[in-house]
Amino acid sequence: MAEFLLRRLLLAAIVVLTVSFVIFILARLVPTSPALLVLGADAAPAEIAAFEQEHGLDLPIAIQYAHWLRGVVTRFDFGTSYVSGRSVTDEMIRTVPVTFELIIVSMLLCLVIAVPFGVLSAAYPNGPLDHALRIFSVLGVSTPGFWLGLILILVFSVRAHWLPPGDLPPIRDGVLAHVRALVLPAFCLAIYYTAMISRMTRSSVLEVLGQDYVRTAVAMGLSRRRIWLVYILKNAMIPIVSVAAMACGYMFGWAIVIEQVFNLPGICRSLLAAIFSRDYNIVQAAVLVVTIAFVSLNMLADAAFRILNPRVSK
């Protein structure tokens, strides 16, 4: 078991490094030097050369990468932003928690809605809740999160003046305001996965309900509560946990759009801004964070599936 874990970790590390290296190379393959963007399009060649030398951009790509990697691994130094001149590490410390919070709140919202919805639909098939789920699951995966965001901002913030339209008040200014600001973006980020997971939950529960061991549990006179918790849900939720972990990973992608809509100061918004301004170091750092998070969540999904499933783990 330990050997297996180690092998997976090694593989994950290789993947992360490869992605990081590929992005590094691709960024530097673009003809437009960041010098031009920072100093202006009509900067003199001498100025450009000086800029490049100052930031080490004239060295061979492999060496540049080695320098960068060394800085990251030994000092957590991701370099400085070409645009703001500030340390990228500082920028990340500010923005990464915001995105992580957004995703965590999204997933919580998703599970709190999707799982009961799916379970109850399976328990009362073809009932009104079941029909509602079928409609919701199609609408939920077809509605673009960012459009939903715009509409919700329109309805709630502008019309009803309820929820603040964007930007994230820090926790120390009040937990309630902080959470309120996250609810709309989290909902928009979560809706696709809520629709999907509620449908999967329904399927999974229906499948388990038809299993022989549930009939055995009933025939043994076990209480309904125990049958639902230990015999039905314990089995039905196994795939759902894995899917939820993977969904968290994919949320990092959509967070780029959602953070833009709601103007949340997360790493995904920084990534987008950095892409436009060719701020390589921020792009590099953000991609690294997202890749690590994604790969870790995939591993978590895999591990969860194995651990929860005695047939595989023992």
């Binding site: 993947v15 992005i23 673009v30 199609v138 077809s142 673009p144 960012f146 459009w147 997202v290």
Partner: protein, 296 residues
């Protein structure tokens, strides 16, 4: 009794039929855009800017006075072209790679292809697409004699993002098929690899791919809209539902709700149609496939 049976069958697939109708309407509108649109989507008319829906402009006008309905109709063209195009190419490449990998088991090629797929599964597709566009740049690019405009670029990029997923599905099916007794027998009879792959393995590997590809069309619409929304997709002034929503963002606070509502509604209806079709296809071709409507 027979008529009842037919209706029962149709009823089973009624949602699929509804989806077909929705999508069909959108495609028709897109194809007939020059005739269907009441006015020129690019015509600026600042005098009539930001007008709410009325009998003159059924869905209102945007900030440059352009009729929203016309822009949405022409936008349908963009979005559907990019969506269908990207899924087409993604399926083409994905299926090809998957078949090769599945047929040539145990070889270096199989290893390389599957490892590359695995690599691409390590990043969320959207991040990959955004990073690549960010690097390549928006707008047309010229590679020597060839000019690739931004639509073709988008098609290529999104197709590229779909290839691993479709490839993996094909690969899994091809693995099973190429080990089947029937294929082995034919191979020993001297059938050429191409014959085997195209005539025997491919037809049996296709159904799950078709289902996933159909659902990916809907994904492609949303991805294109999202990319255009953040400015990395279709470039203005070409009408696209995503860019219209980007513009709308500036106007929701001043109350011009129609610019935000209608383009998004168009996206919704189109994707709902596609998903209904995809679900119906899944029921027909691959009923026990589980509910993965495609991880994006």
């Amino acid at each position: 009794m027979k008529r009842q049976a037919i209706f029962a069958r149709l009823g089973q697939y009624s949602s699929g039929v509804a989806g077909l109708v929705l999508l069909g309407a959108m495609v028709l509108v897109a194809l007939l855009a020059p005739f269907a649109a009441p006015s020129d989507p690019l015509a600026l008319d600042l005098a009539s800017k930001l007008l709410p829906p009325s009998s003159d402009h059924l869905l209102g006008t945007d900030q440059a006075g352009r009729d929203l309905l016309s822009r949405i109709i022409w936008g349908a063209r963009e979005s559907l072209l990019i969506a269908f195009g990207s899924v087409f190419f993604g399926t083409l490449f994905g299926v090809s790679l998957g078949l090769i990998a599945g047929y040539k088991q145990g070889t270096v090629i199989e290893n390389v292809i599957t490892r590359v797929f695995d690599l691409f599964f390590s990043i969320p597709m959207l991040v990959l697409a955004i990073a690549l566009i960010g690097i390549i740049g928006t707008g047309s690019i010229s590679l020597g004699p060839l000019t690739i405009d931004d639509q073709a670029k988008l098609i290529g990029l999104i197709a590229f993002s779909f290839t691993p997923a479709l490839g993996r599905i094909t690969y899994a099916a091809a693995l099973v098929e190429s080990r089947s007794d029937y294929v082995r027998a034919k191979r020993s009879q001297g059938a050429s690899p191409l014959e085997l792959v195209v005539l025997e393995i491919l037809p049996n590997s296709i159904p799950p791919v078709i289902v996933q590809a159909t659902l990916f069309i809907g994904v492609a619409v949303i991805v294109e809209a999202s990319l255009s929304f953040i400015g990395l997709g279709v470039q203005p002034p070409t009408p696209s539902w995503g860019t219209m929503l980007a513009d709308a963002r500036n106007y929701i606070f001043s109350g011009e709700w129609w610019i935000a509502l209608f383009p998004g509604l168009a996206i919704c209806l189109t994707v709902v149609g596609i998903n209904l079709i995809g679900d119906a296809m899944r029921d027909m071709l691959d009923p026990r496939a589980g509910v993965r409507s495609g991880f994006i």
